[in-house]
């Protein structure tokens, strides 16, 4: 049961943080939903397209992600992660559902981490719309991942982009499950620590 709150002028939404926009969305503010969409649609679409490799499927994931935001904004809990983490979590979950359904249908070839190519999936009209902040975030993550041993990086990328479980990764790379569990645990600890220190040094 959503209860409308008074709308504020559109220009004011630009000054709100993502978390504040989500709070307004929880109060039924449709302009806030539009503002969050404008701000985050490229991130969500890029992830969906990377996971699925199909523009129609990615479009469905984008709409469904922001629809879930509209319906469940009151569930957002800032202590459990940032708004962009929440959006990526919804989008990835939806995309992986589609990917798993596609895997069950042999006539369709789902994009996997093996076949996904960084340049092939890039849109021809890629533009710096999201500005320097997005580029900076991207550079931070690339830098943090570059510090990981290749086998650790491979494990977490297979988990994140192909949606594989630890057991499936073990099977895919031909290593014992225990080895994969160790790689993932170490990789995530290092990634968290490295991102934290990079962000601190960047501010």
């Amino acid at each position: 049961m959503r209860t409308p709150t008074p709308s504020i002028p559109a220009r004011d939404h630009a000054a709100l943080t993502n978390a504040e926009l989500v709070h307004r969305i929880a109060g039924g503010d449709q302009r806030a939903l539009g503002a969050l969409y404008d701000r985050q649609v490229t991130l969500v679409h890029s992830l969906a397209l990377r996971l699925l490799g199909d523009a129609d499927d990615a479009e469905d994931v984008v709409e469904e992600t922001f629809w879930q935001v509209w319906r469940y904004a009151s569930r957002y809990d800032a202590s459990r992660g940032s708004v962009s983490t929440w959006l990526c979590s919804i989008a990835r979950s939806r995309a992986l559902d589609l990917l798993r359904a596609a895997r069950r249908r042999p006539e369709r070839n789902a994009t996997s981490i093996d076949s996904a190519d960084d340049t092939a999936l890039a849109s021809p009209n890629t533009s710096p719309l999201d500005g320097a902040e997005q580029n900076e975030q991207r550079a931070l993550v690339r830098s943090a991942l570059a510090d990981l041993p290749p086998e650790q990086r491979e494990s977490i990328e297979l988990a994140y982009f192909a949606g594989l479980s630890q057991s499936e990764i073990a099977e895919r790379v031909g290593q014992p499950l225990g080895t994969i569990k160790t790689r993932i645990r170490l990789a995530m600890m290092k990634l968290r620590a490295r991102l934290s220190s990079l962000r601190e040094s960047a501010t």
Binding site: A19, E20, V22, T42, L145, S165, K181
Partner: protein, 284 residues
């Protein structure tokens, strides 16, 4: 699951790469352990930072605008459930012929040539017309497919709304649902009921008579464990008549809940309660 065992699996959980049994066990521990809950939040941020590795791919502007418009239309309909617009009707595209001008016909010698020219023009017009008809047909097909897609989405949205209503009914009447009543200390004041579905871990909170939150303030719902851990179940606003409904999903062991509470917090909510609760409901 011990703290050390949970710690081993937090990274995999942040990537949703555990088995479902591991997931349940770790989440049950996390519900009781502040350190693990905080660490899991940080690991989730780190995991989803990998989304930035996806090549930046802005949506095609037409798609982006279409999804935005459709999303906001759905939101408007959901906020004010009135009549739904019918899917757009498909109009046949008009086939406009460009004006043709014949010029300079002055002598009999040109009659035969003119006849040839006229045949040529007729053939050319026929060819143009056929091409335009084909083009119009293609446009009609595209419009039809767009209308069909829109129609399918309307059906999906209605199915989703119906499923939501059924889910709400189930969440309040299911076999595993516990009811926690919450009231304010003073008489005939705000009241609330929490329906805790212990099977699905869904929490459905219904409140009445809550005054509207002050500007830049919001209500926040809390689950308080017997270990005095305060877990946010989300922020919410009230309707003009003081009603509110909050739905949250959170896995909590059956015997660990002590109470639910509602506090008044700054916009966006607080990590921990900062004011005296306006509503408290002890559990059993």
């Amino acid at each position: 699951m011990t703290h050390a065992e949970a710690q081993e699996l937090l990274g995999a959980l942040s990537l949703d790469a555990t088995s479902s049994a591991e997931r349940e066990a770790v989440l049950a521990h996390v519900a009781e352990c502040d350190d693990c809950a905080r660490e899991l939040g940080e690991l989730r941020d780190a995991a989803h930072s990998m989304a930035r590795l996806a090549p930046e791919a802005p949506m095609d502007p037409a798609r982006q605008a279409r999804v935005r418009a459709h999303l906001l239309a759905r939101a408007a309909e959901r906020a004010q459930p009135a009549h739904a617009p019918l899917p757009g009707s498909v109009k046949p595209a008009s086939i406009a012929m460009p004006p043709r001008r014949l010029t300079h016909v002055s002598t009999a010698r040109l009659v035969a040539a003119a006849a040839i020219v006229l045949v040529g023009v007729a053939l050319a017009l026929w060819a143009v017309s056929a091409e335009q008809r084909a083009s119009a047909l293609q446009r009609d097909t595209q419009r039809f497919l767009a209308a069909q897609r829109s129609f399918e989405r309307e059906i999906a949205a209605r199915d989703s709304a119906l499923a939501d209503r059924q889910a709400l009914l189930d969440a309040m009447t299911g076999a595993g649902v516990q009811v926690i009543e919450a009231g304010a200390p003073s008489a005939r004041q705000p009241s609330a009921k929490m329906f805790w579905d212990q099977i699905t871990s869904q929490w459905t909170f219904v409140a009445h008579n809550l005054p509207r939150a002050e500007p830049n303030r919001t209500y926040q719902l809390w689950l308080i464990t017997r270990a005095q851990r305060k877990i946010s179940a989300g922020v919410f606003a009230t309707s003009a008549s003081g009603d509110a409904l909050v739905i949250a999903h959170y896995s909590l062991p059956k015997d660990s809940l002590a109470a639910i509470a509602v506090t008044d917090e700054p916009s966006g909510g607080s990590p921990q309660p900062t004011t005296t609760p306006v509503l408290v409901g002890p559990y059993r």
